[in-house]
């Protein structure tokens, strides 16, 4: 404290701009909390439309996390540990969905998996499988936008734990599979958990890709964000209540991750 004081007062313009930034971030959330019709909160929470949307959001975000862990872990391992031609190209491709506007992701998914899509067409003609406008489509859209968060987080953890312990395990007679299971993954576990939490957070907030690829059908593809969008047209009060529910969920995730990212070094 005394050392800080010895450096002089913080410059006024800096303090002023920081205050504007903080206001911009905090005020909308505060008004949401204040303006939520808490009286009707519980009864709204019990309505069929809300329960359906909550159920679909919970189910699809859970399946998204499972999909990311099951498919993303091998991909992250491959990117971190195996030298193959086109590795850096593949890593770049994996990161594209991070910066892609979600609506564009949805259009891309329709192009690939839509009923007349490049992959979806043959899929429909031969197996009779139609993906768009199903709950499966919601999961695919969510996995598409969430996977990069998971893969990058796990790949980073695999890289920082290093190949050193893989070498030690090999000198002790371990196969690559045993090494992955007993050494590499346990050491990368913080990255796996952080990646899963990020993927989950991305999934429950997903709107653009979902509504483009899966639509907005109550009971099958209407997630919480889609329901909020719909109700905002007619009943803003309900939209605020639903938003409050998602805000609480997001803050809960943030609290769970606090120890990893929010603790100042």
């Amino acid at each position: 404290m005394s050392q800080q004081a010895a450096l002089g007062r913080p410059p006024t313009p800096l303090v002023a701009l920081a205050a504007v930034a903080a206001t911009l971030l905090v005020v909308p959330l505060l008004t949401l909390v204040v303006d939520t019709p808490w009286g009707s909160f519980l009864s709204l929470l019990g309505s069929d439309a809300v329960l359906d949307a909550l159920r679909i959001t919970a189910l699809t975000s859970l399946l998204t996390v499972v999909g990311c862990v099951a498919l993303g872990t091998p991909l992250a391992w491959l990117l971190a540990r195996v030298d193959f031609p086109g590795r850096s190209l593949l890593r770049a491709a994996v990161t594209v969905p991070l910066v892609l506007p979600p609506v564009v992701a949805g259009v891309a998914l329709v192009t690939a998996l839509g009923r007349n899509g490049v992959v979806g067409g043959p899929l429909h003609d031969t197996l009779g499988v139609t993906l768009p406008y199903t709950t499966t489509a919601v999961v695919i859209a969510h996995t598409f936008v969430s996977m990069p968060f998971y893969v990058l987080s796990v790949e980073g953890a695999l890289r920082s734990s290093g190949e050193r312990y893989d070498v030690v395990a090999a000198t002790l007679g371990a196969t690559r599979w045993e090494t992955l299971r007993r050494v590499t993954l346990p050491l990368a576990m913080p990255g796996v958990l952080a990646g899963a939490a990020l993927a989950w957070a991305r999934s429950i907030g997903e709107f653009g890709a979902t509504i483009t690829f899966a639509g907005n059908y109550p009971g099958t593809t209407q997630t919480m964000p889609s329901l909020i969008y719909t109700t905002l047209q007619g009943d803003p009060e309900v939209a605020r209540t639903l938003s409050m529910i998602l805000l609480v969920a997001s803050v809960a995730i943030l609290a769970a991750l606090r120890n990893r990212w929010l603790t100042a070094p």
């Binding site: 395990a169 002790l172 050494v183 346990p186």
Partner: protein, 325 residues
Amino acid sequence: MSGLSGLKADIVVPGRLDASVTAEPGAVVAVIGPNGAGKTTLLRAVAGLVEMHGEVTVDGESWTSPRRLVRDRRLGFVFQDQSLFPHLSALGNVAFGLRTRRTPRREAEATAHEWLERFGVGDLAGRRPAELSGGQAQRVAIARALAPDPGLLLLDEPFAGLDVGVATSLRLELARHLRDFAGVTLLVTHDALDALTLADQVLVLDDGAVAQAGTPREVAARPRTDHVARLVGLNVIREGDAYRSFSPRAVTVSLSRPEGSARHRWEGPVVSAVPHGDAVRVLVSAGPDLLADVTPAAAAELGLVPGRRVWLSVKETAVEAYAVS
């Protein structure tokens, strides 16, 4: 050499190492040499961790034709840096190599516990590596390497980074365990004491090639490289087709050109003067770098500070001469 047991290795790692080593079962081979001489490369090549040409045969089985994966070479490797798995207990670390070789969990843990007891760290079995001291961790690492009963033990500077006292007691313990170990041990070290106390054979590497091989006594008495001469505290110079070695204690330091019968004379500036036992050890850049031990009184009288030009001489009777192999 029966050719069927022990270690026989001819190793070429392009640009870094070209060396051969043979050893009987139970032998301990100290590998010494300056930094960058290829000591660690030799161990890593034997272990299959670097690309190499040539042959490695252990107990009559070739590890190189066809090339065996690292995991299929029955070896124990103690790495230079503390390389215990941080997420496993000491017991879990030692049991690891037993579990990968299909030992049932209970049996593996019982054997691992015996090994920890043998190294005097049995009561630390439940601790994570972060909760162990350097000496304790290195004991666990050596126990981990020995537990699966390897045919070859590779130790890469096992005492580096330990306090002198800890290193000394660990060195004595290791000597005892190596006597019981039936396979060949390759021990990379920077310390002449390791080579003299632990090894049956010494392999001196210099610039990626074998500069000298022999028993510790031979190598210490008749060093063929500056590096080993320094390690054992001798001066060594090469004259034509012979080496001449002599102790720093036999060197006389004077400020003027010595008269009389001394045949070997050099002149040059003092590089350093540091206490060495009850003497002062002076390093002089006299063509070859030479060491001379003088009494503290003489050092003060001669004013032996860095930069001071002095004459060194040694009597022929104090010099041992031996042929360049």
